[in-house]
């Protein structure tokens, strides 16, 4: 194969690569495509540091390449180069220039560190959210409104959202890349941070700390909506739970599912060992990773209920078989839940 052929094969790869990089990833996910002021301030720091560091790299590469070309040993060259001990001026330069560069990066770093740790817990305008991380799902409680939801975090745009982060088991880390950096959830400790959502949309959230076999699948969604929708959502969450029309399914659901899950305003602790299911039919995913725009919600629900372990190994939910549910019963429950949507 001649050279041109190799090049021709590599070309699409290169072009593809450039396209990927220049597009900077998905808008709802990439840190290079910030969608809120917190991520924006972090992105600005990233750009500043990348700029400075690119400068350093270019200087080093330039010297390196020059040296390698200029001072390579020619054949039969046996001369002894001059043995230089050092050079104070040069050494002072390459000590002080980095110090200046670090100062340029250090000052905004300190500013942002303090900026991002501001406390909005007493701000009447901010929305308070208590996040509890579980193996492998997320619980969101809104203490000011007395409601709790799971997996889909609903927030209004244009307000500070102040998070209190907890864990129910091991260490996890709460992260919505396009909106802002992460914060860990530590056992026995409460961490706090704020985020802000400029635009409406659904943003992908992830767990960023190794937490067990299904760590990779511990995603969640942050759904930013208008203030009006947000208020509608709060109201809808307060409405009485919607029960299955079929009485048999309703009983089954109560017995098999509600020992761990909650719907409506149930607040029993035992009903909080699994995610709250209020309005689950309208969520973005089932089990974090089965997207409802890719398959019907009911199908995803059937898949999940039948064998949660297959989707998230180590998940603390028994399978349909363990709970003694027949496929028809699973289908019935799934149909009921798929229809359980909140209007907002």
């Amino acid at each position: 194969m001649n050279r041109w052929h190799v090049l021709k094969r590599l070309l699409p790869l290169m072009v593809g690569l450039m396209l990927i990089l220049s597009a900077c990833g998905r808008e709802d996910l990439s840190t290079l495509n910030p969608q809120g002021p917190v991520a924006q301030s972090q992105y600005d720091l990233m750009k500043l540091s990348i700029g400075i560091m690119a400068l350093v790299v270019i200087v080093v590469f330039a010297i390196c390449i020059y040296v390698l070309i200029r001072f390579r040993r020619r054949k039969g060259d046996n001369t002894i180069p001059k043995q230089v001990e050092g050079n104070h001026t040069l050494e002072i330069i390459w000590t002080s220039v980095p110090l200046i560069l670090l100062l340029i990066l250090g000052v905004p770093t300190i500013q942002q560190v303090f900026n991002l740790s501001k406390d909005y817990s007493q701000d009447p305008d901010a929305i308070q959210v208590k996040v509890t991380a579980h193996q492998y799902w997320w619980e969101f409680e809104y203490p000011d409104y007395g409601i709790t939801t799971a997996q889909d975090l609903i927030v209004p745009t244009g307000k500070k959202i102040y998070f209190q982060l907890h864990t129910a088991d091991v260490k996890h880390s709460f992260w919505i890349p396009a909106i802002g950096g992460k914060m860990d959830t530590n056992a026995g400790i409460t961490n706090k941070m704020y985020l802000e959502f400029d635009k409406e949309g659904v943003f992908r959230g992830k767990c960023a700390e190794l937490c067990g076999p299904s760590h990779a699948y511990m995603d969640f969604k942050a759904k930013a909506v208008s203030e009006e929708s947000f208020n509608n959502w709060i109201a809808a969450m307060h409405e009485p739970a919607q029960v299955a029309a079929d009485a048999e399914i309703a009983t089954l659901f109560t017995n098999a599912c509600l020992s761990c899950h909650a719907i409506g305003e149930s607040t029993a602790d035992s009903a909080r060992t699994g995610p709250d299911l209020t309005g689950i039919g309208g969520r973005v995913t089932v089990g974090s990773i089965l997207y409802n725009d890719e398959a019907p919600v009911a199908d995803n629900l059937v898949e999940w209920i039948t064998d949660p372990q297959k989707i998230k190994a180590g998940a603390n939910m028994p399978s349909a078989g363990d709970m003694g549910l027949t496929p028809e019963q699973v289908q019935g429950i799934a149909d009921y839940l798929a229809d359980y949507k909140l209007n907002y």
């Binding site: 301030s41 002894i80 000590t95 110090l99």
Partner: protein, 601 residues
């Protein structure tokens, strides 16, 4: 049998090399399985559980059982020769250090056969590493294996500190030490300060796991963040324990193959010390997202950034060593020259990570995976490859094959950048690390594929190196004393490989770059500092081996709660210690008339 009882630093160096390289291959295979799994989205080659076991064992093996031992191999092989000594200060301890490392490593890897593999990451953060969330014996293997291997490292650190302080040849003052010796000296100091911290942490974790102590059990008053502090107070200096020796190797290789003395020697020495000192001050930059608060995050940000200054000094000193030199290209020098820009790239991403608010985005993503592999593979492994090709003739009396060497270099170098450069972008686009898989369509697919291809290229490079070792093995031993012709330090004044006693007469050192100075003065050999006489040698001993076996048995006993077995194991170890202290062993002498008979390794 010879090899089980040897206390000769040269042989122990070779043992470290073989064992370390073996673990490097195991860790590398684990890495390839990880990369193969991540090649395409939602792959199911391995389960989530097995994946976590693979990353844990890969990280732990590479750091503790591959990288460190290969460094110990080079330092054992070279340091006594560079300082004109006949052995290390405590040859018996040296052998004990090797065997404890080896049996600790074997214990850790037996977990694969016991079907109980550690799975909480090489950092073993609690509560994931507690019995509640990692039941079974997996993490016990980690705790006890590392504890035993850690003894070996600590012994090595103490030994080399003592050796370099006490056993330098006449005239070899501290400011005349070769740079590699300097970095090993400072590394040894770091080991002596950092490893006890790990020991304490592992003991606490072991008590939590075996006896339900509550150091890290937050429900009972313990604190999980405490483990993170302990781990990183050890863990960050550990990174410098790994990289400083590589700095030393690069300094030697660059100056030999450009025929120039090291530019800015004294600033190099002080930069090394400063890096070591700062290395202890910055552990919390691994914990920016743990929630330590803005004051801690701010201080640790700035302290971390400062490390860039002495590191920059080193980089420019290397470049200006090459400047005006007469650079010879071979595998060793190419790995060293490849190291410089590669390490700079790892260094600058380090500064980027140091900016805490930006780290809220980078932390625990593939950006970090890319960064630390640039530092430990692009820095340390390049350094080790460079050092191995450089000192191979000194260790074995044969030069490695150049053609195969070039193949190793180019496949490894290209494969390396292909694997890890692209991972920076994966991280920035939102891919967390330690994930067994990822959904398609998130913008990760192509880059992961490229990364996996690169990893396999590195595998080919490693295979080429192994072939090279065997090819070289079959060649005659014909390397000259000054194998590259441009040697500058004392190891190049004695035959390759050196006789058992290294120096027939201890050399008199008259300046920095002692051997170079003699050559420039037209001398054919070093001026001896003593008359020819009988040379005292320590006698070989099987005790270190048996002691380590004892600890190995005790480890199993503790793990499976068979206290009789544990006691028996410890008894073996203590009995050996008693024998060692009760029976005097004066060693033996090699008389001048026997010294001519070449006694090779």
């Amino acid at each position: 049998m010879d090899w089980l009882t040897t206390v000769d630093h040269k042989k122990i160096g070779i043992l470290y090399l073989i064992a370390g390289f073996l673990f490097f291959i195991i860790g590398g295979l684990e890495a390839l399985v990880i990369r193969y799994q991540l090649m395409v989205p939602m792959n199911d080659v391995v389960s989530g559980q097995l994946f976590n076991e693979l990353i844990t064992m890969h990280g732990t093996t590479m750091i503790f059982l591959a990288a460190m031992p290969m460094l110990f191999a080079l330092m054992n092989a070279v340091i006594p020769l560079q300082i004109g000594a006949r052995d290390v200060a405590f040859p018996f301890l040296n052998s004990l250090g090797f065997w404890t490392f080896f049996f600790g490593g074997v214990l850790l890897n037996l977990s694969w056969f016991a079907n109980a593999v550690p799975d909480a990451g090489w950092t073993s953060y609690v509560p994931l590493a507690s019995t509640t969330y990692s039941d079974g014996h997996g993490v016990d293997y980690y705790v006890i294996g590392l504890q035993i291997a850690g003894i070996g490292t600590l012994l090595g650190g103490i030994n080399f500190m003592a050796t370099i302080i006490n056993m330098r040849a006449p005239g070899l003052t501290f400011m005349r030490l070769p740079m590699f010796t300097w970095t090993i000296f400072i590394t040894s100091v770091l080991i002596v300060f950092a490893f006890p911290v790990l020991t304490v942490g592992l003991v606490a974790l072991m008590f939590d796991r075996l006896f339900h102590a509550n150091f890290f059990e937050s429900a009972n008053g313990g604190n999980t963040v405490l483990w993170e502090h302990i781990f990183w107070v050890f863990g960050h200096p550990e990174v410098y324990i790994l990289i400083l020796p590589a700095f030393g190797i690069i300094s030697e290789v660059v100056s030999t193959f450009s025929r120039k003395r090291l530019f800015g020697y004294s600033s190099m020495v002080f930069a090394t010390m400063l890096i070591a000192f700062l290395g202890f001050m910055v552990w919390a930059h691994h914990m920016f997202t743990t929630g330590l608060g803005p004051v801690a995050n701010g201080l640790f940000s700035i302290a971390t950034m400062l490390i860039a200054v002495p590191t920059g000094v080193k980089i420019f000193n290397w470049l200006f060593t090459l400047w005006g030199g007469s650079i010879k290209f071979n595998t060793s020098s190419m790995f060293a020259i490849g190291f410089v820009p590669t390490f700079v790239m790892g260094g600058v991403t380090g500064v980027m990570l140091a900016s805490a608010p930006a780290d809220y985005q980078y932390h625990d993503t593939y950006f970090v995976v890319a960064h630390f592999h640039y530092v430990i593979v692009g820095g340390l492994i390049f350094g080790i490859f460079s050092g191995l090709h450089y000192w191979w003739p000194k260790m074995f009396g044969r030069k490695l094959n150049e053609v195969l060497g070039q193949i190793t270099f180019w496949t490894f170098f290209i494969g390396f950048h292909m694997t890890f450069l692209i991972q920076h972008f994966l991280g920035l686009l939102g891919m967390p690390r330690r994930v067994v898989s990822y959904l398609p369509g998130q913008g990760f697919d192509n880059m992961n594929l490229i990364s996996t291809i690169g990893a396999f290229l590195m595998g080919i490079g490693t295979i080429a190196f192994i072939i090279n070792v065997f090819v070289t093995w079959s060649k005659p031993r014909n390397a000259e004393a000054d194998a590259w012709g441009d040697g500058r330090s004392l190891e190049w004044t004695i035959p390759s490989p050196p006789p058992e006693y290294n120096f027939k007469q201890l050399p008199l050192v008259r300046s920095y770059d002692a051997w170079w100075k003699e050559k420039m003065d037209g001398n054919k050999a070093m001026t001896p500092a003593e008359p020819v006489g009988p040379i005292h040698m320590p006698s070989p001993s099987i005790l270190p081996f048996i002691m380590s076996v004892g600890l190995f048995i005790a480890g199993f006993g503790f793990m499976y709660n068979k206290l009789i077995v544990a006691g028996a194991g410890l008894l073996i170890t203590f009995a050996c210690m008693a024998i060692r202290s009760l029976f005097d062993d004066h060693g033996f002498h090699i008389e001048p008339e026997d010294q001519e008979k070449e006694v090779h390794v």
